[in-house]
Amino acid sequence: MSARPPVADWFTDFDHLSPQWIEDPFPIWDQIRAKCPIAHTERFHGVFLPTRYQDVRDIAYDPQRFSSRRVVVRESYPIAASAPPITSDPPDHRAARMVLLPAFTPKAVDRLEGRTRALCNELIDRMLEKHAAGEPVDGAVDYAQHIPVRIIAHMLGLPESAGDLFREWIHLVLVAGIDDSQSLVRGFTEMTGYFKKVIAERRAQPGDDLVSYLLDAEFDGHRFDDEHVLGTMRLLLIAGIDTTWSGLGASIWHLAGHDDDRRRLVAEPELIPTAIEEFLRAYSPVTMARVVREDTEFNGCPMKKDEAILLSFPAANRDPAMFPDADKVIIDRKENRHAAFGLGIHRCVGSNLARMEMTVAVQELLKRIPEFKLDESRPTTWSAGTVRGPRLLPLNIG
């Protein structure tokens, strides 16, 4: 990422790519929420940042005024790529979404649990081998980043070994591509070429996989052409992978730094699903954008047509008006109406899958490696952009 002009102040000149934001955004959001709850920046052609739960909720519930046609804020938009239904607005949104939902119900996701558990154990085996050989181990690089990518590949009927390729594209599109158009175009073009081939293959010879299902699917008389299916594959790949690995990585990061919480979950594994909800709240990985359709006013803020809004579910989930002790991570928090998977019609379609993957991955890790800590002799790094999670997570294990 290129060097960026320093931020003058967080209320009128915020920059979600600044090093301070990337390292620790929480005090920034708290400051904005307390003083000027909807911040603005002229950067990125004009962006608003609501930080209160209620404002984030109201915007998410108002697709008439706030469009989803661009869900990532970038320096430039060289490609108008749709990824339905995440980039769809009503009325097109409904069919694109409904057709996907059956593939991601709890029942459908349960069928992937065995494979996920086996995969986690394969990765842990390798981590333990590395550790035994005296090599350093990393919770993100050796563990978290492999899980969602291989499960999505499995769902799409693609070889799990394609995972490295997928991660490369995600990096180009979501990280490098935010301020570098060439990276974005390259990642996008390679991904599109690969998926077009897959679609042609499945048209010719359908299998028991999500691509074949979508090519044949129908909702309310709508069928979906290759371009639509291509967009949805793009979505599943981009939205389903670094998001979950970020949420899982942040959970492991928390457990590495909090012996009391980690030991409690080792002793009380039945608490893990509740703890995962709290990690999702406190370290929500995903911020989605909206586009202002027409000049409007929202809670006293005049908004101009085509300005963007960073819909910060992570900041909303830290709002003390909604969550008591919002700044504390309470692993047995019972009432947790968090918005990590979004609110309203764009609720993350893969939320059941993400929850299953995070839960299984933490269960297996704590079972096999109950003692681990951050290795402070190596750097821990966090992603830049609108998906937040650790990218290097060096651990001392055992």
């Binding site: 939902l101 059956p102 119900t105 709890p106 009432e335 947790n336 109406r337 609110l343 309203g344 609720r347």
Partner: protein, 75 residues
Amino acid sequence: MGQKKILRVAVDRELCQGHNRCQKLAPDLFVLDDYGLAQAAGDGIVPAGMEEQARLAEANCPEFAVSLTEETKDD
């Protein structure tokens, strides 16, 4: 003549987006359709002993789609 309290759960189908928190927290009180959208199981009446589950389902719905009502009925 005594009075009996009846607790009932309901899901607002207009608000439910299929987060599935209710069904996870109270699997006997909610059912999901083929799209993963929730509704109350049967008539929504909460059997004795499941009050806490019902309360948690209500308190964890991100869309405020789950409601819990108390009715009083003569025995």
